[in-house]
Symmetry: C2
Subunit: 340 residues, 2 copies
């Protein structure tokens, strides 16, 4: 590969020292502080730099300054629509703030999450945004304990002192359940799964709370063992047989399977059974305008997490106290959305 233009080349051609070039190049971006370079010198340096299309070597810069302007993002699966959209927003924010982002997927596997974090650390990320998974607490604690700024996204680890940005899942679930009750449904059940993940637990308790508040004692939370299609289908059919009036799905994947089961067996929404879920999908609002879902504030997730993380990076003292940002949910009928 053709060797790139360096600060030394520019210094030589402009007849100044490398230090001066460095100063001009980096302070140019930062706006005026104690800017002390003679305008004509600056101009000359800038011209030479432009002439050769000088690009600073970020490895050298990082090595020297310890500032990498790189952050690592570990999601459970970047091909999941919700996380893909979050990634998109994170990338966007990063681009405009001159940060670079490394993405990794954990596949809900704590061992892999830990591996990815390690790789990211080697690569010199300044901080990490992490969607924790079941069993990843200790690995994350260790990483954060080693001084790495960490912000949890989407899910919090209950009881742990981590900064995080999550949706108010409890409230979302309460509103959703109350909306269902408001529509006249009484026999409302939830399809969740066995987990300790905060977002899911909160969705469960929100449902229970709202049902209780409405004086409905007949509650039920299904927790399929493997969360595969067969199980979900079985639960849906069984629910239908028992005349359940509304089903709330707590995860994206299960709601996809749930929809599939509805369709396959000719169950209509809302006539046969109402369908409610967290995270919308192209697959839903295209067909059934009466589905109820929680609209996740994707961009806010990204912006809040990045802003918080960068603050922690730049003000290590602030990183001590953990900040928890709770985003407000919006529960909507897909019919109220403008489509595609």
């Amino acid at each position: 590969m053709k060797s790139r233009i360096t600060i030394t080349d520019i210094a030589k051609e402009a007849g100044v020292s490398t230090a001066l070039v460095s100063f001009v190049m980096s302070n140019k971006a930062k706006g005026s502080r104690e800017y002390r370079v003679r305008p004509e010198t600056e101009k000359r340096v800038l011209e030479v730099a432009a002439k050769y299309d000088y690009q600073p070597n970020s490895s050298a810069r990082a090595l020297r300054s310890g500032e990498y302007r790189t952050i690592g993002v570990v999601l459970s699966d970047i091909s999941n629509k919700f996380y893909a959209e979050i990634s998109r927003q994170i990338e966007n924010w990063a681009f405009h703030h001159d940060y670079v982002v490394l993405f990794g997927s954990s596949d809900e596997n704590p061992k892999k999450l830990s591996n990815v974090m390690k790789v990211f650390k080697n690569k010199g990320v300044d901080g990490m945004i992490i969607v924790p998974c079941e069993g990843s607490e200790s690995a994350i604690s260790q990483m954060a304990g080693s001084g790495m700024p960490v912000v949890l996204l989407d899910r919090d680890i209950p009881g742990a002192e981590f900064s995080s940005v999550v949706l108010n899942n409890f409230k979302a679930s309460v509103i959703m359940t109350e909306t269902l009750v408001g529509k006249g449904f009484r026999k409302i059940e939830m399809i969740s799964y066995k987990t300790t993940l905060s977002n899911i637990k909160d969705r469960e308790s929100g449902y229970l709370k709202a049902m209780e508040g409405a004086g409905l004692t007949e509650t039920r939370i299904h927790r399929p063992e493997y969360c595969n299609y067969r199980e979900i289908e079985q639960i849906v059919l069984d629910a239908k047989a028992r005349n359940v009036e509304a089903l709330i799905f707590t995860t994206y994947n299960m709601s996809l399977m749930g929809r599939k089961a509805f369709i396959s067996h000719g169950l209509r929404v809302p006539q046969d059974c109402f369908f409610a879920c967290f995270n919308n999908s192209d697959a839903f609002d295209l067909y059934e305008p009466d589905i109820l879902y929680v609209k996740q504030p994707i961009e806010q997730f990204a912006v809040e997490a990045m802003t918080l993380l960068v603050k922690m990076i730049n003000e290590p003292e602030s990183a001590q106290s953990c900040t928890k940002i709770i985003l407000q949910p919006e529960v909507v009928f897909s019919s109220s959305e403008v489509h595609v």
Copy 2:
């Protein structure tokens, strides 16, 4: 941030030189070549490294060796399902081959694509995988011309000497059209858009070729101006009024809008009009088992592109000759798929 353990610390504690430590650390991974370290020394070094959980500083390594083991991927939009899945596979491959991946989105904007490439170059990527967009030819040429290994993905730039990994879109379109003809349809039209992008053009010519081959002279390719919902809806309604028997959508977004238009106006597949598209969506096979679509070999896209790129990086002489990899398409009815 707590200062990390360096090669120097380890050398000191193990009573050897930094060079030896470096040698042990890097050749350990590479398996046996001319491995010339006394086993006991190696053991000692490894132990000390493990004790302090030594992690090499990749900036320093990159600065020194010129090897970054980082590749940049510029897609049009990472939140688009197709690209999200590709990203996932690329990330996966990279993880297992000890590479790091930087993602960027161009939003089909050549200016932004160029910007992202520049940022990636600064960050020191060893090569790039790029989904070119309309008008990005010159920027990509310039990048490739400067010695940066580049592999085009999904779309090729006709006439240009770039290595690329694309689907055989022409063939896919031919098969798709022939399948439609085989099902007895005669009045088949295509919804595309005004572009010079190779994948779209190939889809168009495949359709024309197959129609011609079947002796069907009545062909028509719609090219809406803005590709918004109103336009697509209009085209669909108009097609229905003219008794068009099958509609082929050339892009993911337009097929989503097309489906929406079908649903909104109660058009049934296959009774009222057949629906065919490239790239499947959760939104399709969930509902209409008779949709015809091209199954993109996602993993192959990722693996081929990464393998090719890494080869170009490691063997600069091979980077001279451009390699074009054409992936075989598979045209399927969504009903033949196992769902969710």
